[in-house]
């Protein structure tokens, strides 16, 4: 009979998310609600084990505000046992909320050294090690885990790195393969990874249950793991209340800010359905616009802000140039284009983007104004 447990990491409760401006505070509490959502899920689905692989809090200082609620949720889910290893953001130091005397009885916090916790009634053995500081040297789990009737589950906040230069508990394949664990519940990397297997150890990063920026886009959540000695199955469970999405949208042909905004919204509606308005977007406007375009980024942004929960814009539109025509033009502009195209043609791949930027900066200077557009 496989054991079922839930695995999350890197929620970073209390993170400032200042890029969200006025929405930042609301968003911080949404993340707390996401944690509650995860706890409620386990309570509802009778999942008795809840693993947290570090960085539950963005910092121990931030934890002061959120830990009481977290503990309250844990206490309320009395049929769920929580197992926690501290990460580099919320190390198990003197300021850690995990030193509190008010820890829920159903929460077990692993210490600075590898600790083993056996739950024979559930048929599992848990092993974990917490960060003591914001960095942690790797330490091999030298004790041989018993290969008995119990299923071994290891919790680590760690960086899978072969060179071991990472300051964040770097582990390598050998470590994983020789860990003796049947499942290695990892934390630290915010992007969810598919489960992988080395030896008889299945391992995965569930990623952060809520994105903390547009480098953490997509639907986020945790893994529901069904584990036996012979088999390990992971099912992704969506937890996030909002999704960070980065969208490149071609607004070529838009003749006004309104039409450009409409183009953007239509695309979002097509892609994400009616609830698209609730998500967080970084929209990269692409395509070509006329030389004397009436599109105004600020105006488009304002329209989108009125329609979307959060949006930021990056303007990568370019004026509609027929470079082949331009390069033959008997003018400084023509020669400039020709020379730039020659350079681009001769350039290495890595330099092409820079040269293209130079080309369009020059063309903008010829035709209108040059402006650095910073999101």
């Amino acid at each position: 009979m496989p054991v079922k447990f839930f695995h999350i990491a890197d929620l970073h409760l209390g993170a400032e998310v200042s890029y969200l401006g006025a929405k930042a505070d609301e968003r911080r509490f949404e993340m707390l609600a996401t944690f509650k959502n995860a706890v409620d899920y386990c309570a509802r689905e009778n999942v008795g084990i809840f693993l947290i692989s570090g960085d539950l809090f963005d910092s121990n200082k931030a934890a002061e505000e959120f830990a009481p609620s977290v503990f309250e949720y844990m206490k309320a889910a009395e049929n769920v046992k929580f197992f926690y290893v501290a990460g580099n953001h919320d190390p198990l130091d003197a300021a850690s909320p995990m030193n509190s005397s008010a820890l829920p009885e159903n929460l077990y916090v692993f210490g600075h050294e590898y600790e083993t916790k056996e739950l024979p009634e559930l048929g599992i053995r848990l092993i974990g090690r917490s960060f003591a500081y914001s960095s942690m040297e790797p330490k091999n789990f030298t004790a041989v885990l018993p290969q008995d009737d119990l299923v071994n589950i290891m919790l680590l906040h760690a960086d899978i790195a072969s060179d071991k230069t990472s300051p964040y508990n770097p582990i390598d394949k050998d470590f994983i393969e020789n860990s003796g664990a049947h499942y290695l519940a990892l934390g630290h990397i915010h992007k969810r990874t598919s489960p992988a297997k080395l030896g008889h150890t299945t391992f995965a990063y569930p990623g952060s249950p809520e994105g903390h920026g547009f480098d953490e886009e997509g639907v986020k959540g945790g893994y529901l793991v069904s584990l036996s000695k012979e088999n390990c199955e992971l099912a992704f469970v969506k937890l996030c209340r909002r999704v960070h999405r980065v969208e490149k949208i071609d607004i070529s042909g838009a003749f006004s800010s309104i039409s450009a905004a409409d183009t953007v919204l239509s695309k979002l509606l097509d892609n994400y359905g009616e609830n698209y308005k609730n998500d967080l977007y970084k929209i990269i406007l692409t395509g070509t616009v006329g030389e004397k375009s009436a599109l105004k980024i600020a105006e488009i942004l304002q329209i989108l802000k009125d329609r979307l929960y959060f949006v930021k814009l990056k303007d990568e539109t370019r004026q509609a140039y027929d470079l082949e025509l331009l390069k033959n033009e008997v003018s400084l502009k023509g020669i400039f284009v020709k020379k730039m195209l020659e350079r681009i043609a001769a350039a290495e791949e890595k330099d092409i983007s820079l040269l293209e930027s130079a080309l369009y900066i020059g063309l903008s200077a010829f035709d209108s104004e040059v402006a650095y557009n910073e999101d």
């Binding site: 042909g253 375009s293 027929d322 033009e329 400084l332 130079a358 080309l359």
Partner: protein, 789 residues
């Protein structure tokens, strides 16, 4: 390329307006507001549309030329290009993409497939909209006064044409726009640009990170110190707990001691009381003991007195017994002695007779063989006596003179006997007879001696008996008196004895519960013992009360049980009460130590908390740094791109100067000479982009500023024509659309220019809009096709 006709369905003020153009020079005459510029805009709009979104009506031709009756804007142009005739039809809508456009090869009557961009001109002519515009459309400088501003503009246009091929574009302007954009990021001061700020922010973050790491290290140190202190605190607490435990044991010891004292006191009291318990259940108290003691003491005194009286009675009795015994016993003894003596005397006298007879018989025998010899017995006896007496005398000579003398006397007697032995010789018949005779003689002597002695004794006895018999009479009277007294005393004594027996019984009864009463001392000892025990009971009661107060027990049983529990407490067996007591002193020390450690821990934790609260953590700062690095990288890339753009712009400008400049100079000179009817021979463009002209028969070039407005306009027209010439395809010239280019010209110049254009129209279609009838009239003379609007 040639424009054959414009058929304006609806555009600006025109509705269903058609104008045809012929080869060569077309002069379109119209008054102001006749719509010359509208036709020009129509031509451009038909080929390139308008891709902009400008809200300004003046700048947005889709708005500017919106038909006045709000009908659909559009029309068609017939043109010839590459030897083929086309009709371009366009219905203007929102944008180039949405405009409805069709191109028909009119020779074939077939549509030509077009791209979707809507700028048909680019597809057909291979010219950008800008190039098309600056090639086909030529106006005038239109600056009659050389005020400074206008002069600058004209200078710029001329220079721009000469240097960039575009009167509206200067390399400085383009460069400055790029630099200005770059400076928004990298300011000259290095402080206010976005990049500068990001860089500064990164430096700030770097410092913050350094600080945070320092803080973290410090925090680690503090945590180490805290951990150490906590260990110390733990050790102290453990020791404290241990000592408190011991101290509690001290209390337990004390309790146990108190309980022991209490129980022992209780048991002692009970034991003592039990020892004092009387048969009636009461206790022998002090009164009891006093009574016993007094009774015993009194009895002792009385018994002593009784004993004295008994002694007297006994003495009297003894005396009477003696008196009675003396009378009978002595007399009986004497009588018995007399009888015995008389009996013995008879026996001895019988024996003496027998011995005398044997001596007589022996003497007869001896006389027959007489022989004398010394009396050996006397000799030896005398010798021994003399020696013993002499030796004894010698030994006692100094110490005991009376003995000495006696002993000397003995010695002397011995000597006499010795000598007497020799004197008293025996005669024997023979040795055996003689010896037997001697023996018999001796025996006879002895017997005779004894007989004599017995006779004396018999006499003495008789004497004594007589004496006794005399004394007996007197003693009898004395005896009777004493017996009388004895009887009297004995009666009193008996009464007293009975009384004392009664008293003794009382004492005995008092003693009986506590011991055997034999002697009066026993009673006193018992009384003393009872008294002592009573004292002990009192002492035990005091002790018990005190112990009871300290134990706070309600009963002996409770105390006993608690004591048993404590005695069975294993933990009390590890330590001694002394250790427990000493723990109290140690606790004071350890409490002070614990307080000191707690204070230090509090201070350390406060420091740690202050440190932790003092700023952001390393990972958070690192994230911030990463974000700013990305930002900086983007900004840097923009600046690098701007630098590249400027560099390439500079290269392009140099190339422009090298290739285009001289061509333009040559072509412009040719046209300028033609336009001025040979008055000016050439045009030169200086390195600093100043336009200079050389006049016929005048030495040296002259800057354009020294020229008249008309000449300047001629120079401008020359440049524009030369530029168009350079840009066009040699095999397919472009039409030139000129909007009143001669406004600054005088009649002579206008005529010369028209003449030149008439010649120029041999290779180019020229469409010249003018509002000047003079121009129209002059043009006629040069074979121009005249159209009236």
């Amino acid at each position: 390329m040639k424009i054959n006709s414009c058929d304006i369905t609806s555009f600006g003020k025109f509705k269903n307006y058609k104008i045809d153009f012929s080869d060569g020079l077309n002069v379109i005459f119209g008054e102001n507001e006749a719509g010359k510029s509208t036709v020009t805009a129509f031509i451009k709009m038909m080929f390139y549309g308008y891709s902009g979104k400008m809200s300004d009506i003046e700048k947005n031709p889709r708005k500017k030329y919106m038909p006045w009756d709000a009908s659909l804007m559009g029309g068609s142009i017939d043109f010839t290009h590459g030897g083929k005739n086309y009709r371009l039809t366009r219905q203007f809508k929102g944008s180039n993409v949405t405009d409805k456009i069709s191109l028909t090869d009119t020779d074939l009557g077939a549509p030509v497939k077009l791209g979707v961009k809507g700028d048909i001109g680019s597809e057909i002519f291979g010219l950008s909209e800008a190039a098309f515009e600056k090639t086909l459309f030529i106006g005038s400088l239109g600056a009659p006064d050389k005020n400074s501003t206008a002069e600058g503009e004209i200078n710029g246009k001329l220079s721009n044409i000469a240097s960039t091929g575009d009167e509206d574009v200067s390399v400085e302007l383009v460069s400055s726009k790029i630099l200005k954009a770059k400076e928004v990021l990298m300011s000259r001061s290095g402080r206010i640009g976005l990049y500068d700020k990001t860089l500064a922010r990164l430096e700030e973050l770097s410092r913050e990170l350094f600080g945070a790491r320092e803080t973290e290290l410090r925090a680690r140190e503090l945590e180490t110190q805290i951990a150490k202190k906590e260990r110390e605190a733990s050790v102290v607490k453990t020791e404290g707990d241990r000592l408190f435990g011991i101290m509690k044991k001290a209390d337990l010891f004390k309790k146990r001691a108190n309980l022991t004292k209490y129980t022992e006191a209780f048991e002692t009291e009970q034991k003592l009381k039990k020892a004092l318990l009387l048969p009636d259940g009461s206790l022998a108290d002090k009164t009891y003991s006093d009574r016993l003691r007094d009774s015993a003491t009194a009895l002792e005194l009385e018994e002593k007195a009784l004993a004295e009286r008994q002694a007297i009675v006994d003495s009297l009795k003894s005396d009477t017994d003696t008196l009675r015994a003396d009378d009978s016993t002595l007399l009986d003894t004497l009588k018995k002695q007399k009888a015995e003596t008389e009996s013995r005397l008879l026996e001895l006298e019988g024996n003496a007779d027998k011995v005398r007879e044997r001596v007589t018989s022996l003497q007869i025998v001896a006389e027959q063989k007489p022989e004398t010899k010394p009396n050996t017995g006397l000799v030896i006896a005398g010798l021994i006596l003399a020696l013993v007496g002499g030796i004894a005398a010698a030994l006692t000579f100094r110490n005991n003179m009376p003995l000495f003398y006696g002993e000397i006397g003995g010695a002397v007697i011995g000597l006499v006997l010795f000598l007497l032995g020799f004197v008293l010789r025996k005669k024997f018949a023979d040795t055996s007879v003689k010896e037997e005779l001697v023996e018999a003689q001796d025996e006879l002597d002895t017997l005779l001696s004894k007989i004599a002695s017995l006779k004396e004794k018999l006499n003495s006895t008789d004497s004594e008996i007589n004496t006794i018999l005399i004394e007996k009479g007197s003693k009898k009277a004395l005896l009777e008196a004493k017996l009388s007294e004895l009887y009297r005393m004995q009666e009193g004594l008996l009464l007293k004895k009975e009384e004392l027996l009664s008293k003794r019984a009382v004492v005995s009864a008092l003693c009986e519960p506590f011991g055997h009463f034999e002697e009066l001392t026993d009673a006193l000892e018992i009384a003393e013992d009872i008294s002592r025990k009573n004292d002990a009971v009192k002492a035990a009661e005091v002790t018990l009360n005190l112990a009871a107060d300290s134990t706070n027990c309600q009963s002996y049983e409770e105390a006993k049980k608690r004591l048993d529990d404590l005695n069975n407490d294993e933990t009390l067996r590890d330590i001694t009460p002394e250790e427990a007591e000493s723990a109290k002193d140690k606790i004071r020390t350890i409490t002070a130590e614990s307080g000191r450690i707690r204070e230090e821990l509090t201070a350390l934790r406060h420091s740690l908390r202050t440190l932790i609260d003092s700023g952001r953590t390393v990972p958070v700062i690192e994230l911030d740094i990463e974000e700013n690095k990305v930002k900086l990288q983007n900004q840097k890339e923009f600046c690098d791109a701007a630098d590249i753009a400027i560099e390439v712009l500079s290269d392009s400008f140099a190339a422009m100067r090298r290739s285009f400049g001289s061509l333009l100079e040559t072509e412009t000179s040719k046209i300028f000479s033609g336009l001025t009817d040979g008055a000016y021979t050439s045009v030169a463009i200086s390195k600093d982009l100043d336009l200079k002209v050389n006049k016929e028969n005048v030495f040296g070039a002259k800057e354009w500023q020294f020229l008249s407005a008309g000449t300047t306009d001629q120079a401008y027209l020359s440049l524009r024509l030369a530029l168009a010439k350079l840009m066009e395809d040699e095999n397919d010239t472009l039409p030139l659309v000129m909007d009143d280019p001669f406004t600054q010209y005088d009649d002579t110049r206008s005529e010369a220019a028209l003449k030149f254009l008439s010649d120029y129209s041999a290779t180019h279609q020229l469409i010249l809009f003018t509002c000047h009838s003079k121009i129209k009239e002059t043009a006629k003379t040069y074979g121009a096709t005249i159209k009236e609007m």
